[in-house]
């Protein structure tokens, strides 16, 4: 069953706000900015634009090329365009070679990059997996592109991973097993396996082709990394061949997947929200205003301060070598940009 919603996305451009009581709108907006959280980011295929989605369902497009150019002004650090995309928060965004996919409360929407660049913000399509519960629309916390199958994996509130064929828009598979909602997904390309981290404290490996659960790691049961005072939830996950790093309630830990053993527990106290492999380093960020550079051996290489008190999203622009930057977003209306990963260069701001 596919539910296709038409172009129902309400376009609400900030420039087109009614003139009356501008002062009130002004205060309303500054209050929104004060309480804004940016959950997701995605870089355009050309590598020149960065899309960011916040808790108010707005997507803002920043021009990295303008902000990084030598004659960058304050104005170039503001969104090229921002539009209301979803009703609720936008928790996940990915980019295909043509489209920007965003997900929030229950549905995935696609926006053509070619149109976005020309400041057109009409959604290309909108898909919604079938949910069992009718009382509440489950959120989608994570999107993962599976390029080999040309499919999209999504997971979230309904404790299941849904696979959607990007060609047809049909939901082809569903992977069930988690007992609580899923925070994050990661892909093992070589093995056609998918990893998922969940609120229930487990990381599960799924065989994408067979559709069954391969493995279930109950992270919170390992004494090395368990931290009951924070909880057992796994909020971040990254994988590289046989290695996996995951964190959340339990401490950030490097796992060897074949032997299913926690090899390194990283000395990071705060719960981590985002982790990624980068060259021979592991970058992580979470409930602290820092971006942590960790070595595989378990040493903290650097803690780079950033503006958001809690970082929800890290993104490295791999598409364009001249615009290769690390961007960190979280509980702030500002998105920090690290040109040299060692320090914060400037911030892009929502307006």
């Amino acid at each position: 069953m596919i539910e296709v919603e038409g172009a129902m996305g309400v376009l609400r451009m900030h420039s087109a706000q009614p003139k009356r009581s501008w002062q009130l709108m002004d205060i309303q907006r500054s209050l929104e900015l004060l309480h804004m959280t940016v959950y997701s980011q995605s870089v355009s295929p050309c590598g020149k634009y960065l899309a960011a989605g916040n808790n108010f369902g707005e997507i803002a497009i920043f021009s990295l090329s303008a902000a990084l150019s030598s004659e960058a002004k304050e104005e170039s650090k503001k969104p090229v365009i921002s539009f209301a995309a979803h009703d609720g928060p936008i928790y996940a965004m990915v980019s295909t070679d043509r489209q920007l996919l965003s997900a929030g409360n229950g549905e995935v929407k696609a926006w053509n990059w070619s149109e976005i660049v020309k400041k057109g913000c009409k959604e290309a399509w909108c898909r919604r997996p079938t949910y069992k519960s009718s009382l509440e629309v489950p959120e989608i916390n994570s999107l993962q592109l599976n390029l080999k199958d040309n499919s999209l994996l999504m997971a979230g509130g309904d404790c299941a991973i849904h696979m959607m064929d990007l060609e047809s828009g049909a939901f082809t598979r569903e992977y069930r097993g988690h007992t609580d909602y899923i925070h994050c997904l990661a892909l093992r390309d070589q093995l056609r396996e998918c990893l998922s981290g969940s609120e229930d404290g487990t990381v599960r490996l799924w065989d994408l082709r067979a559709g069954g659960q391969v493995q279930c790691i109950e992270v919170h049961k390992y004494e090395e990394c368990s931290r009951p005072q924070y909880g057992k939830w796994i909020s971040c996950l990254a994988t590289d061949s046989d290695w996996m790093v995951c964190g959340g309630g339990p401490a950030l830990t490097l796992w060897h997947l074949r032997s299913v053993t926690p090899t390194t527990v990283f000395p990071v106290q705060q719960c981590q929200q985002q982790v990624m492999f980068y060259q021979d380093l592991i970058l992580s960020a979470g409930h602290s205003p820092t971006v942590n550079h960790l070595q595989i051996s378990g040493e903290m290489k650097a803690q780079i301060p950033c503006i958001p008190c809690c970082v929800h999203s890290l993104s490295i622009n791999e598409h364009s070598p001249e615009h290769k930057v690390l961007t960190a977003a979280g509980s702030s209306h500002r998105i920090d940009v690290f040109t040299n990963f060692g320090y914060r260069a400037f911030s892009l701001t929502f307006t």
Binding site: L31, L33, L34, E199, P228, H287
Partner: protein, 729 residues
């Protein structure tokens, strides 16, 4: 020889008798007998020339005789004696002749003199006569010229021209045939005509005078009638007053006010007129009045007030020097300041009445030398109100009208020219005098029609009534809204201070039936205190907290311990501030221990939610902003707990859901109630750490679909009416 002569004188008479007798005898034989001998008469008879010949002859003879005698004597012969005698006799005769001649010469001289004298007298008489005649001539000539120069009076009289004269004058006066040729006659008759005419005019003048007198008398009579009418009219007016009052038509009062309004300075006049007009057109309950000393204002009007402060300053200085001997520099400057900040003696008051009967009393003043208007506000509530401590600033004149329009604090003068005036007398800012003078809000200037351009500070500003009119309605509405919202807040604060959250029935659906968290404290904060709070940084940085705003602290509690009487403004966990969340495995038990030791006999700590509130003067148009700090298992703020941040946004961003019935005066209390609700949710949905012994601290009573959601593990703060469950946004 003299002896000779004297001797010979005696016989002289004899000789004259004899000698000349002989000579004269021959001549005057006739009258010799009648007259006695008179030598005087003889003179006339004799020829002087002959006498002169005789005299010469005699002298020659005498000389000859003398010479002969000489000769004879020189010879000395006696014979010669006779001859000498003879010659002596001869000489004597000659002498006689000489004597005679001498007498004659004398008489002749005398005679000549007399004649000359006589002639001279005659000449003198003639000369006198001549003089008289000449004088007479001169006098006559003078008279003649006098006559010639005589000016007649008639030349000064302007006469009608000759042609006109002949045209108009009757024939008996003009007498054409005579006067044509004779200019004298013509002039005379013209004068006659003039006289005639003047007589006629005099007649007419008299007539007019009489007429005038008559009219004057008439006027007098009418005046008397009118003056008799005035008291009667007055009495009628007086009598009609109760009727006017009864019919609520205060014509008389209005009239008086308009009379007074003439003495208002232009900006106050504009305000008065516009406000009265607005009151008549849109708001019948609006009362506009003029207060102050009219006489003073009149006095001010008469001599054109020299607005140049230099002069007034110097005047003031003079006064000082005469009054006091040596005023200190400070006193002088003080007086100058007073002069500069002088208000016009008249002020305009506007009473804005709200629906519930409370009144906002605005008094507008005009600072003459600064050319700005100020306002003082006072509130009289309809019902007697208890004064909540935290409401101190709510109705204070200082803050009541602050920021009626955004950014209009009324602390600086809106007239840029004033700064230069202040520099002269050493006033740093008008702010120091605002309490005394009233606030110079920009909207007040606009109501008075004063508009101050920002870029041209020295351009003179004149009162413009259209400006006032365009702002009147909006400002009055804003004022009314401000008053109502403040009164509503005032009422709310009174109950907040007693820990009661008044939630009206219209708003009940916004909240679940059971709310455990309670508001226990509501106090006012100072701006400085607010700034010092660690968790308000973001709000301050976002520019949502300014010193003109009002600040409050709410304390919401939920816990098993007994409610204590005294609270602390500091966070109750000072140790926790240093290391907020990083707690080891053993920490909770330690913490619990500590808490129990410190606060209550219970095993659990009380949870205290501090909410720092920024109340914008524009409430409820502009929502209050809350900053939260939860003291429960450590200090949790928006910087270390996303859920606290989310709770803040529940009240700050989604305030529109909490406005309640229009115009949303219940916003604050609803927000506070909402905070109680979200605190309940926060505490009840906190994941229970199984490693800690004992039951769950706060049993979950709220119905939630899911406890956490999304990457940030948000708690379900959204309340769904009428099902009554909580969900996520």
């Amino acid at each position: 020889m003299s002896s000779d002569s004297s001797k010979k004188r005696k016989p002289k008479v004899i000789r004259t008798d004899g000698g000349p007798q002989e000579g004269k005898r021959s001549r005057t034989d006739v009258d010799q007998d009648a007259k006695y001998y008179s030598e005087e008469a003889e003179v006339d008879l004799r020829d002087p020339n002959k006498d002169y010949e005789l005299y010469k002859q005699t002298c020659q003879d005498l000389q000859k005789l003398m010479a002969e005698i000489q000769e004879l004597k020189s010879k000395g012969n006696k014979d010669c004696a006779a001859e000498i005698e003879e010659r002596r006799i001869q000489s004597c005769v000659h002498f006689m002749t000489l004597k005679k001649l001498n007498r004659l010469a004398h008489i002749r001289l005398k005679k000549g003199r007399d004649q000359t004298h006589e002639a001279k007298q005659k000449v003198d008489a003639y000369h006198l006569q001549l003089q008289n005649l000449l004088y007479e001539v001169m006098h006559l000539q003078k008279e003649i010229t006098k006559c010639l120069e005589f000016k007649s009076k008639h030349e000064e009289i302007e006469l009608v021209s000759v042609e006109e004269f002949y045209k108009e004058a009757p024939a008996e006066i003009s007498r054409m045939e005579i006067t044509r040729g004779d200019p004298h006659q013509q002039t005379l008759s013209r004068l006659d005509w003039e006289l005639e005419q003047r007589k006629r005019l005099a007649e007419k003048y008299k007539e007019c005078l009489a007429n005038k007198e008559k009219i004057l008398k008439e006027i007098e009579v009418k005046k008397e009638y009118l003056s008799n009418l005035q008291p009667r009219l007055n009495s009628i007016m007086q009598a009609s007053l109760p009727v006017q009052e009864y019919l609520a038509m205060p014509f008389d009062q209005v009239h008086k006010q308009y009379e007074t309004a003439r003495h208002l300075p232009p900006p106050l006049y504009v305000l008065f007129v516009q406000a009265s007009a607005y009151g008549q057109a849109c708001d019948k309950k609006l009362a506009v009045a003029i207060e102050g000393n009219v006489e003073e204002a009149k006095a001010l009007c008469k001599p054109p007030e020299d607005s140049q402060d230099d002069e007034s300053d110097s005047d003031a200085e003079e006064e000082q020097t005469t009054k006091r001997r040596r005023p200190t520099l400070g006193v002088q400057l003080d007086d100058k300041r007073k002069e500069m900040l002088k208000r016009h003696p008249l002020s305009v008051t506007i009473d804005l009445k709200c629906k519930d009967g409370s009144v906002l009393l605005l008094t507008f003043y005009y600072l003459m030398n600064l050319n700005v208007m100020t306002v003082k506000a006072k509130v009289t509530a309809a019902a007697e109100m208890t004064m909540p401590i935290s409401a101190g600033d709510l109705l204070s004149p200082d803050s009541l009208l602050s920021c009626l329009y955004p950014g209009d604090h009324g602390k600086r003068t809106p007239n840029p020219a004033n700064q230069f005036q202040f520099d002269k007398v050493g006033i740093l800012t008008l702010n120091d005098y605002v309490m005394e003078l009233g606030h110079p809000y920009v909207w007040v200037q606009k109501l008075g029609g004063l508009h101050f351009p920002k870029d041209q500070p020295q351009q003179p500003v004149i009162a413009d009534s259209s400006l006032s009119a365009s702002h009147m309605e909006r400002t009055m509405k804003l004022l009314k809204m401000r008053l109502e919202s403040r009164l509503a807040l005032h009422k709310q604060f009174a109950s907040l201070e007693h820990g009661i959250l008044p939630v009206s029935s219209e708003c009940q659906h916004l909240f679940p039936a059971k709310i455990v968290s309670r508001l226990v404290k509501w106090i006012a904060l100072t701006y400085e205190d607010y700034l010092e709070l660690s968790y308000t940084k973001d709000v301050v940085e976002a520019g949502l907290a300014e010193d003109t705003h009002l600040y409050y602290m709410a304390l919401i509690e939920r816990g098993t311990g007994k409610v204590e009487e005294t609270y602390y403004s500091k966070p109750p966990f000072p140790q926790m501030v240093a290391q907020p969340v990083i707690v080891g495995d053993e920490a909770p038990s330690e913490q619990a221990l500590m808490c129990s030791r410190l606060f209550s006999p219970s095993q659990f700590s009380k949870s205290k939610l501090q909410a720092a509130v920024v109340l914008n003067p524009g409430y409820s148009f502009v929502p209050p902003v809350f900053s939260l700090c939860l003291n429960w298992k450590g200090e949790k703020t928006n910087s270390n707990d996303d859920n606290i941040r989310s709770m803040e946004s529940e009240v700050n961003v989604y305030y529109k859901e909490l406005c309640g019935p229009k115009p949303g005066y219940q916003l604050l209390t609803n927000q506070l109630q909402r905070l109680c609700v979200v605190l309940d949710v926060y505490l009840e949905t906190e994941t229970h750490d199984n490693s800690v012994e004992g039951p769950k601290e706060f049993p979950q009573e709220k119905m939630c679909l899911r406890l956490v959601r999304g990457p940030s593990r948000m708690k379900p703060f959204k309340f769904n009416y009428p099902q009554g469950f909580f969900s996520h946004r």
